[in-house]
Amino acid sequence: MAKKEKKKKLNRRDFIDRGFRVSIGIGLVGIGGVLFKKSKAKEYVWQLDPEKCIQCGRCATSCVMTPSVVKCFHVYDMCGYCDLCGGYFRPEAKNLTTAAENQLCPTSAIVRKFVEEPFFEYDIIEELCNGCGKCVKGCGAFGNGSLQLQVNHRLCVNCNECAIARDCPADAYQRVPMDNPYIFSGYSNEENKS
C-alpha cells in the first residue's frame, strides 16, 4: 500500500508548488552568496599612474567634481628643495621671488617656504589645486619629479565610470584596492606626502 503511495505521480498543482519553493530557495541562496562575496571582496577605487601621466590637463577639466579631486601631491623624500624650482617658477621668471607673475601654478596653490640657505620647501594647498599638472611637468623636466598628480580619495566620489579615466589620452587611470589607493613614482612612504 505504502509502496503504491510513493509511486504515486505528482499532480500539476504540487509540481508547480514544489517548483516555486525550489526556485525561491535557489534564488535566496544565490543572493546570499553574492552578498557574502561582495562583503568579502576588496573595494576598488580609481587612481592614475604617475609613470603614464602626460600632464594633458584633462584631470582638471574632466572630473565631475569642481574643482577636480585630482591634486598635486608632493613626495618630499624625492624633492631637491631647489631654490629655482621648475615646478614653482615660470621659465621666464626674472627673480626667484614669490611674486604672482613668477609662479607657474595658475591658482597659486604652491607655497614656497625658506628652510635654510639655499633650500626651499614647497607645500600644496589642496583647496586651490585644480590638478592641471603644470607644476608636475615643470618638476619632471627640471627637477627630480617629486610633484605628482593623484586622485585624492578624501574628495573622490568614486564614480563607476570615472569621467577622467574615460578622457585620459594616456590610459593612465586604473582601479586599485581601496586599502592601498595611491601610486607614487619613486617613493611610497605615506608619511612623506602632503
Binding site: R58, T61, C82, L84, G86, P118
Partner: protein, 319 residues
C-alpha cells in the same frame, strides 16, 4: 515590394544608428582636445641653430655593459670605463682594454699615464697595460666618488656622499678636505642632492669644483682656500636649472668650461667667468631622461660626450 523596401531601408538605418552609437561610446576619445593649462617647454628645448657652434663628427661604440666615465690623457688616448672594464682608444681606433673586478664611476689619467679609478668609496690605480698597482683605503660607508683629478703631487677626489673634496698625496693618504662650509673663509659648502659632483684641474693649475645645488663653479687653491666663484641660475641657456646642474664639466684650452646638464639634456660652453658662449649639443639629440653625460676634451679642443643611454662616445668639433 514597397514594404520590403521600407524594411530594408529601416534595417540599414538601424545599423547606421547602432554603428554611430558604438563609435560615440568607444571611439570618440578625442586625442586633440586643447589643454587650457598647457605648459610648453619646447621653446626651452628648441635652440636657435645659430647658437650651436659645434657639429657631431663621429662616434665610438665601445663593447662595455655599462658605459659611465671618460678621460683623455695628454697624448689624446681616450679612456672609457664602466662595468668591469677599461677600454682605450686612439684616433677612433681601439688600442687595448683590460678587465677590472667591479664598476668604476670615475676615471682619471695621471701625468705618468696611470689609470685612477673611483670604485664607489675607494680609488684603485692601474698602469695603462691593466696591471693593478695599488688600491687605496675606502673613505667611509657614505662615500660615493664621482670625479678624480690629479697633479704631480696630489690627487683630488670629489665625494658626493660626503659632500667634500678630498686631497690625497700620491701614496693614498688624505692630506686635506676642501670645500667644507666655513663662513669665515667665505666657503658656502657643497650642495649635492644627487650623485653628480665634478671637478677638474684648470689650465692655470687650479682646482675647479662644481657646486651643483647652487649652480656654481668654485675655484680653490691647493690649501683649500676659495679663490673665486661664479654661478648662473636660469632655465634659459645662460644658466643652469634644477636640483643639481651642471652634472659634468670639462675645460677647453682657452679656459672655457664645457658643461653637461640633466633634466634639459644639453651641452654648452661657458666662458671662464661664467658667461654663456655657445651650444655644443641640444636636447634633441639625446634620449629624454639621459643623465650622466660625462665630458672630456682632447688637445685639439674636440669635445667628447659620453652618452650612457646610447652607449656611445659622441665626438664634436667646432663648425
Amino acid at each position: 515590394m514597397k514594404q520590403k523596401l521600407i524594411i530594408g531601408f529601416s534595417l540599414v538605418l538601424l545599423l547606421l544608428v547602432v554603428f554611430l552609437m558604438w563609435k560615440d561610446f568607444y571611439r570618440s576619445k578625442s586625442k586633440v582636445q586643447n589643454n587650457p593649462f598647457e605648459y610648453n617647454i619646447d621653446n626651452l628645448k628648441n635652440i636657435d641653430p645659430d647658437l650651436i657652434t659645434y657639429k657631431e663628427v663621429s662616434q665610438l661604440k665601445p663593447d662595455i655593459e655599462d658605459l659611465i666615465a671618460i678621460a683623455i690623457d695628454k697624448k689624446d688616448h681616450i679612456y672609457l670605463t664602466g662595468k668591469n672594464k677599461v677600454i682605450i682608444y686612439k684616433d677612433n681606433s681601439l688600442v687595448s682594454s683590460f678587465n677590472i673586478d667591479s664598476t668604476a664611476y670615475s676615471i682619471n689619467i695621471s701625468s705618468n699615464e696611470d689609470v685612477y679609478l673611483g670604485i664607489l668609496d675607494h680609488i684603485v690605480i692601474y698602469d695603462k697595460n691593466g696591471k693593478q698597482k695599488t688600491k687605496w683605503k675606502a673613505i667611509n660607508e657614505n662615500s660615493v666618488i664621482t670625479s678624480i683629478a690629479s697633479t704631480e703631487e696630489s690627487v683630488f677626489v670629489a665625494d658626493a656622499g660626503n659632500k667634500i673634496v678630498y686631497q690625497y698625496d700620491l701614496n693614498g693618504k688624505i692630506i686635506n678636505e676642501i670645500g667644507k662650509k666655513d663662513t669665515l673663509k667665505g666657503i658656502p659648502g657643497f650642495i649635492i642632492p644627487s650623485p653628480y659632483f665634478d671637478l677638474l684641474i684648470g689650465i692655470h693649475g687650479k682646482l675647479w669644483v662644481v657646486n651643483p645645488g647652487r649652480h656654481a663653479f668654485e675655484n680653490y687653491d691647493f690649501e683649500g682656500n676659495l679663490i673665486s666663484t661664479w654661478e648662473r641660475t636660469s632655465m634659459q641657456l645662460e644658466g643652469f636649472s634644477g636640483c643639481c646642474n651642471p652634472s659634468n664639466i670639462a675645460m677647453l684650452s682657452d679656459g672655457s668650461f664645457v658643461t653637461s646638464e640633466k633634466g634639459l639634456e644639453r651641452i654648452k660652453v661657458h666662458s671662464p667667468s661664467g658667461d654663456f658662449k655657445s651650444v655644443v649639443a641640444g636636447p634633441d639629440i639625446f634620449e629624454e631622461g639621459t643623465k650622466g653625460l660625462d665630458l672630456a676634451v682632447d688637445t685639439k679642443d674636440r669635445i667628447y660626450v659620453l652618452d650612457p643611454i646610447k652607449k656611445a662616445v659622441r665626438i664634436f668639433e667646432k663648425k
